[in-house]
Each structure stands twice: as C-alpha cells, then as structure tokens.
Symmetry: C2
C-alpha cells in the first residue's frame, strides 16, 4: 500500500495519527533548521515538516528533493503553528519520519502553478505537466461531473445510451469528412461521423424511443480558434414527440446540470424567442441576455433628413449604453475606430449623449424633437449614450450585435457566474442562394417545417417558401450556442416535397439518402431531437470562452497534437497494404 490517505483529506481530526502519503513535491522551503515541503496530489496539498531534530540522513534526503519529484512519506499528523485557512488541510502538517523518492523528476519546463510562466505551445507539448495545474484539473473534474450528471438525468428519463459506429460512410453534402482506407476492401473507405444523425433517426425507426449518447464527432474543417477536428456531442433523439415535448425534456436536463454541477436553480421556464426577434433585438441568433441593451431600429425615423450616411442606408439601428453619456471625445473616437475595424466593418459611429440635453454628432441634420424620437424608440434613459450604426441591414445588425457585446463587456454587464439560458425557435427552413438560384436547407433535409405553415411549404412561390420556418430550436447560454435540433420529417410526402424544393431529382435523393429513405418505408414514427456541444457546454459552465482547456488532449489550430507529434508520415508498406499512395502533385486550391 502506497498511502493511507490522500493529500486532500487530513484535518485536526486525525491529529496524532501515523500516516503514509504519496504525491508530487510542489515546493520546498528551507528555513534554516527546519524544512517545509508542500506535497500535492489530485485531492489537495498537505504540508510536510522536517524539523531540526530530524536525522541528518532525512535532512539530506529532503535537501535532495526537487520540484515534481514523486515521493512517499511516513509521519505523524500534528497541529500547525501557523494555520492556513485557505487549505482544507491547512490546520495540520505531517511531522515526517521517512521520505522515499518513488521517482525523481527533471525540472519542468514551466511552473506547475495556477498562473504558469509557460506559453501555449510549450504547455501543449508537455500537456501531462499542464494537466497537473489546478485550473486544468478543475476543468477535467467539471467535465467528468457534467457527463455523469447528463447520464443520471437521461437514465432517469428512460433514455437508453446506445453506441453508434465510428467507421461509417462518407456523404458528399455538408462539411468535409475524415476518411479511413479499408485494407480488406481495397480502394474503399470508411468515414468518421460528423454526427450520428442518420443512426439516431434509424434508432427511432428501430423503436428505441428515447436515445442519447455522449459521442465523439469529426469534421475536417479549416480550423478556427475554437474549433477542434474531433469534438464531443450529447446526441439525443425521441419518438412520438412534438417540439414542446423535446423542449421540456431538455430544459429539464439543463436545469438538472445547472443545479447538480453549479448549484444554480431556476424558477419557471427558460425564455423563448423567435429567430426573427433575436435578429431584430440582438442582431444575432444567439443573444447574450445577461444584459438588455436591445437594438432599436431607426430606419424610418432617421431617413430622408439630408444626412447622407443614413439616407443611403438600408437599415439604421442603435443601442443605448447605460451611464455612458459622459464619454469623452477620446473615448468616442476610440469606439468609432473599434466599429470600423474590418472584423466589425461599420462605416461610422453616430452617437447621442442623453444628458440634461441631447448632444449628438449629427446635431445639424436633426432637430431636438427628432433626436428625442430616437431616444424614445430605443428606450434610452438619462445618462445613456445612444450608439447608432447604418448600412446594409445584415451587416449592420451584425455590427450592432458585436458593439452590444463589446459595450456589455466594457460595462461589466456580462457577469461571470450569472447564467441566462434561452431557447431560440422558428428558424427559417431554407436559405436562398442567389448565385446558384436554389434553396438550401438551413439545418438538414430531414428538418420538418412548422406544422402551421404546411400550406406555404407546398406553395410554388419563392416568397412563400422564404417565409417557412423550420420546426427547429437552438439552446443558448450567455451568448453561446450550446445546442440545437429539430422535429424531423417522418411523412414521405413531405420528404419528397422537401427534396423537390432543394432541387434533388428523385434519383439524386435516392443516391444520396437512399438508405435512410428506405428505412423510413418500414414504419417511421414521428420523431425529433437535439444535440449539444459538450466541450462548449463544459467551457461555458467553467466560465471560459475557449473549449481547449476542457479537452484533455486537444489539437492546435493546425490540427496537430504537438504532444504526440501527430499526424505523422507512415511507412510505405503500411500504405501498400491499404492500396493507397501519397499523391505528390501540387494541390489545386
């Protein structure tokens, strides 16, 4: 037996007890006669004391200890002279009789502290050392707890966790697949799943009623800051349900997780807003509603008064930043530069200071009454600063959304530890693509239209089809899209109509979706589901914007695992067995 206790559990209750501990040397403080060692394991830190009366052998052994050495110590629990109220073990220390080095350690390339001196790449390369730091340990513990509580809730709700295959088939639609050459079937390939979408629908056809899975998904995309080629989803599907059943069930899941993991309780239902409202009031489909600062539209009120920027704009909108009416010229200039950055892309920032009187950068174009009207439309209060953007509608709303989030952050309105979940519903079913003159499915071609818009769905007018909403929903927390799903089409007539709208001939539909269309012929129940981004949900609960710290072994932005140095070349013989070779021609991009 290597230890009688962990480094996180001894208190005054065990005073006087002989104990054996094992762990890593966090730090050694030699105070002349006596030496203190902080011994660390996953559970905490316990202070070791090697005092003046210790044998010279023990003293020499202590002197030889280095940071991150793995040691086993035998000693007695004693009350500390100087207690540390911040540590659960802070009232005691171990008066050591014996130290055994289980393994020496080279000096780590960065400090194993909450705030480390190691850069990103170095910490990725030595991930096993980074994982020893408290923030990462806590992230892994949070993730474990999240997964465990997801399963507790889902099991209680009679969901079955069913594993779907990872070696499946490539489909030409959607994002790029990772593919896997088959050795036994030369010239053929498996694909890694982008999601178990088809399989979960197949399970509904198979009568499984309530399915879920915490499952890895793979997408060969060009990586952005917060994307990973492999990521984890909580994938769920239910049969014999309408939208309300799905929302109730998963609002229950979210409430369970908030309570069990964070101790946060919610009264009443989560708010629901439509996609149209979200775009109108927040300029985006995943609003952070921890703060209000809604967008007010000024297009009608502000056009035609001779101010060129506004007169030529498709859309004019504003937000009202609370208590900012005293912003200086310098502050306003800086904000003006901020909205003009290419990532935001606004042409100019127009403001109105709502003080005892209204002061504006466009005083000469608008009367006080007109400006007062702007203030009323946006609901600004005295002391607020009205920030107005104008231009093409889509871009301007997007810029207003970014400006709103930025002002929310500057004004500390996006409070850490406050969680505001909401459902966004009634997404458009289709997106019309002008260049190709065709409709695309916003979600996927099995998403059903809203049940009260079936007439529009069968209309042949483009304008009607553009109005059709999907029976789909997104789950958002604090401006982060955590999950999304839909009620699926189970009626073959609707499915045929859907393919027709999307421009598939019956043959092309059969070619691409034949297998699931076939399955649906044998008695498909009405069904719908949702999938949550598990990495992102963990990060959001952990108060982080980046998912990387919530994945034990993430890849970098080039899709590389720098710890194991992967991907890597493989041997010629291995490729020959798989009947493939490297194509050394230049790639045409």
């Amino acid at each position: 037996m290597y230890r009688t206790h962990t480094c996180g559990e001894l208190t005054l209750n065990e005073a006087g007890k002989a104990v054996t501990l094992a762990g890593w040397v966090q730090r050694v403080r030699n105070l002349g006669g006596m030496t203190f060692v902080d011994l660390r394991d996953r559970y905490g830190i316990t202070q070791l004391l090697i005092d003046e009366k210790a044998s010279s052998e023990l003293k020499a052994e202590t002197a030889a200890l280095g940071r991150e050495f793995v040691v086993q110590v035998v000693g007695r629990v004693v009350e500390r002279a100087a207690k540390n109220p911040k540590l659960p073990t802070g009232e005691i220390e171990i008066s050591v009789n014996k130290i055994k080095v289980l393994n020496a350690a080279e000096l780590p390339p960065f400090t194993i502290e909450d705030e480390t001196d190691g850069g990103d790449e170095l910490r990725m390369k030595f991930r096993y050392l980074d994982l020893r730091r408290n923030p990462l340990r806590k992230a892994m513990e949070l993730r474990h707890k999240m997964a465990y509580e997801v399963r507790t809730y889902m099991n209680n709700e009679k969901f079955l966790e069913i594993e779907t295959p990872y070696l499946i088939k490539s489909t030409p639609e959607g994002a790029r697949d990772f593919i896997v050459p088959s050795r036994i079937n030369a010239g053929q390939f498996y694909a890694l799943p982008q999601s178990p979408q088809t399989f979960k629908q197949i399970l509904m056809v198979g009568g499984y009623d309530r399915y879920f899975q915490i499952v890895r998904c793979f997408r060969d995309e060009d990586l952005r800051a917060d994307r990973q080629p492999e990521f984890t989803q909580i994938d769920c599907e239910m049969a014999f349900v309408e939208r309300e059943d799905v929302l109730q069930t998963f609002e229950g899941l979210a409430k369970h997780l908030f309570d069990a993991v964070l101790g946060v309780k919610f009264e009443g239902d989560f708010p629901r807003i439509t996609y149209a409202e979200a775009m109108k009031y927040y300029g985006c489909d995943k609003p952070d509603i921890r703060f209000d600062m809604r967008i007010g539209e000024l297009t009608e009120a502000a056009k035609g008064k001779g101010f060129g920027l506004f007169d030529s704009a498709e859309y004019i909108g504003a937000i009202s930043a609370p208590n900012c009416s005293e912003y200086t010229r310098k502050q306003l200039d800086e904000l003006s530069e901020w909205v003009k950055r290419p990532q935001i892309g606004a042409k100019a920032l127009v403001y109105i200071k709502v003080g005892d009187e209204l002061k504006s950068s466009v005083d000469k174009f608008y009367s006080v009454a007109e400006l007062q009207n702007f203030v009323e439309i946006t609901g600004a209060k005295k002391g607020d600063l009205l920030l107005i953007l104008a231009g093409a509608k889509k871009q301007t709303l997007s810029a207003l959304s970014a400006l709103r989030l930025e002002m929310g952050a500057r004004l500390n309105l996006r409070t850490e530890g406050v969680f505001k979940p909401l459902w966004v519903v009634d997404f458009p079913l289709f997106e019309y693509d002008e260049p190709t003159q065709r409709f695309y499915a916003m979600h996927h071609p099995f998403t059903s239209p809203n049940p009260d818009q079936i007439d529009l769905f069968y209309s042949s007018r483009k304008e009607d089809l553009e109005q059709v909403c999907a029976n789909a929903y997104d789950f958002v927390i604090n401006g982060v899209e955590i999950g999304g799903g839909s009620i699926r089409i189970h009626d073959s007539k609707q499915q045929r109509r859907m393919f027709e709208i999307l421009g598939f001939t019956p043959e092309a539909a059969e070619e691409q979706f034949g297998f699931i269309i076939n399955a649906f012929r044998y008695g498909a129940p009405p069904h719908g589901g949702i999938a949550f981004g598990f990495d992102r949900w963990c990060a959001t609960f952990g108060g982080s914007e980046s998912i990387r710290d919530y994945i034990a072994f993430p890849k970098n932005n080039a899709g590389r695992d720098v710890m194991i140095d992967s991907p890597a070349p493989v041997g010629e013989e291995q490729l020959r067995e798989l009947s493939i070779k490297i194509n050394k021609e230049e790639k045409i991009d």
Copy 2:
C-alpha cells in the same frame, strides 16, 4: 402530445380511463365481428379491441392496417375477458374509438418476432427492423444498464472519466492501425487508437490518479467470427497502487455489476489461480470453472509400458467425465472422431470406463493396478469415463481443454445463469521466439515483472528470464476472458532493462516510445490498470457467446456495414484534397 401512456404500463388500475397510445402494429386478428390488434412499443404490448359496435369507418381503417404500421389510437382501458398472465398489460385491453395511421409500412422482409424467419445477412441489412425484436431490444437495454452501472461504481470510487483522442499516431508494433489521411498536413496520417494505453499512462503522469473511460478501440485485423474492427473497452488506470489494490477495486466493480444488472450476489473473494495452474489443470489460461473435471497428468504413470502412442508422447493427460461409464461403442467412436478433427488435432482418444470393474481400450498394455492408478491420479469416481489424450505437451493440453469444454457442454455442466468469475495471475513476462532468437513481451513493454522476481529479471541467463512472471492479471467469467491488465514499470532503470531484454537499442526505444519515455522523466508515479472488453462482458451477462447482438450496428466478417453499405469508394476530388490516390497495383500478400 402523441400519447398519454406507453404500451407497457396500463393495468387494471387504469380501467375506465381514456388513453392515447402510439406504436407499431405487431399483429391483427380479425375474429369476424371484432378485431384485436397488438400494439407494440419499446415498453411492451397492449391489446386493442375494435368491437362489433365500432363505426364502419373505424372497422375499415382497422382492416387496412398492416404489420409494422405506426399508429396512434384513442380509446378506453377495459378489463379483458381472456386475461394473459404473461404480459404486464395482460389484464386489460383498449376499447378503441379512433385510429390514426401515423405512417404506413411496407411488409418487412422478415417477421418481427422473438424467433424470426430472417437470415443473418438479411437481418444485418435491415438492422433497424431486427433491432425491433425483443432479444435485440433486451441486449441494448442490458448494455445501457451495464454502462450506467460501471459509471455509478467508478464515480463512487472517485475515478474520473476522461476522454482521450481518437485521432492519434500510428505505432509500428502490435496489431495493424486504421489510419486517417490529414488534409491540412499533406502526406501525413492520424491513426485510430487500438486502445488508450499511452494516454492513460500519461494521465497518471499528469496526476489524475484514478482514470476510466468507456471508449471505442480500433484494430485492423483479419476478422474472425467474434471480432469487430471497432469495439468498446472499459479502460482504467490507477496511480499509487500495487496489484492487490487493483484487484480489489475491480473485483468490487464486477460484484457491483453482477448485483445491479443480474441480481447475483457473491460472498467472499473471487478465486485466483496462477497461469501455471490454469494451464496444468484446465489446459488454457481462461478456464470455465462452472464445472470441475480438471486435467490429471498421466505422463509418468503411463509411459514405458509398451503402448506406442503413450511411449512416444511428451505429455499424457486425462479428464474424467462424470456418469459416462456406460457410453456405447458408437458414442465413444463419435467422441474419438471429434477429438481427431483438425480444430482439436488429437491423434487418438483412449478411454477407461470406471464401472464395477475398469474397462479400457488399452487393457492389453496396462494391468488393472496400473489403470487403477490412472483413476486415482485423476480423481475419477465410479460411473465416470476417463478420457486420455497424448502427444506434444502444448497441443495436448489445448486438446484436453477443448474436450473438457465439450464434455461440460454435453453434460449440461456449463449452466446458463450460473457465473463463476476468477482472476488468473502470474503470466509469463516474456515469450521466447526461436526463429528470431529473441524475447517478446507477452503483454506490452511497460508491464512490470513480479516484485519478488526482480533478481531473475536482471539475470543474463535465458532460463532465468523465462521464469519471470509479469505483474499482470486477467479477469475471466465462465471461460471468457473479460479483461486484463498489469502494474506498469515506472522506474527508468527497470524500463531500460526491459528494452534491453526485448532487443531494443536505446535509439530504437527512443524512436518508438520516445514520447512516453520522455513523459516519465517528469515524475511518473507507480501505476497500473486494467481494460475490460465491454461488448464481451455484455454478451457474457446476456448469456450469449457472440458479441454481435450486443452492438447496435455491428460489421460483418468482411468488416462491412451492410446496412449503410460501407466502406465505399469516394470521389477523386476528395482523394486529391487529401493528397492520396488509390494504388491499383496488385497487393503482394
């Protein structure tokens, strides 16, 4: 709302209630005036009654129903005239007012019954229909329950479930990897993990102490009947442990699963036997100990008496089949043919009938006293039949093992529903390969030697090294290897010695295992672990020898998923993006 109740929950308690049910039409029985319909969902079957007084419309709708139609019915719960005590819902039926067909169904290609008329390939192709049958539904439910209870136990024992990556790096040792071409890193490949072995050891270096994961693993092997290219493991690792800690922890897991899933309780510890004992008494390293019938060795007692088969044999062994002394000539001939089959490969079967007197096929070579000695060595009792095989030791023990299992099966000693778990310990650390004149690791090169054989481990004599046992263990239930693991080497001197014995130069070891050897330099704790074959454990608990029914979407023996028709060719453009092409040369096998 599609239903007020499931098809498995209504009893006399709900008599008189108006209910709405939804499900699949299992069967329709038209008894002239009235029609009975069995409505099925995941939870059970409820009988529907459309009686004589029903509207002609309802009668016509009922007449139009086909097998596996998806319907919604509204009606009232009434007491049945003829109750069915076998069904939980057998006391009631639904007097139907309204039937709505939610989806029609084509006639399924095989019957959705416990005993179906569909062949293997057909059922694989229409897996979604096969999954509707009770045996598969129960298998999926068992698997869900197993996974859930594994997590319950592990969570209580403070194990963290940590997800390790699926896109890792190919290693030349061991079984073949599946590889995944990287698009962004042209000419380079990821590999799918054969197990998270390296990552779980890395997590121990990272201080995670108690790790587990229910995780998919991939092996590109030539498939045998009960192998799958992707399979699921319960993967576990612990730090600061010795063998006893690991065995106690996972014996606890097994007992928890036996109790929670099967309601089977065990008193006391599971038996442990050494590899040497297992080979000696059962002829194999995963004995089925539901029955005794141990092998007795007769080599010394039977050699040198002029019987050529025995005199020339390296080894002679016997089992004693209880109550078989009355076997007829025909039965004995048939058994003799059975052991001579190529799969078993024995040269001949010698028997002794232990009746009032001893009757043997080798009477003329052995005196009654000598035969009596054989009987005593094997512990045969009156009424038993002694079955003797002779030849090369390894092959003969293997044949005796097969014969023992066969006799156990014929005599109904391998009782279904009886579970006899055991630990097999002290496996050899090395295997000497004569052709290449070198030692191979039986397990893997990080497996530590038994702590009391360290001297032998450092010996330079081949005979000494052959005696060294691994600090490894297998978990066996009813003759099926469910799991295995070992205490790992954490001492760099031992690791160097291990590589030396295995014939790696320091450079070659660095080349192949550099990344983990490096990690070990920064403070590796003593650690060890185990991995369980989850598919196999589920099948064993379900009383099945095949894992295929315990996997929702298995592949066939050619590694194909015949339901989705995968693997499949992919487009030229997709290959070009990945910088690979198909190698059309003949494969050299």
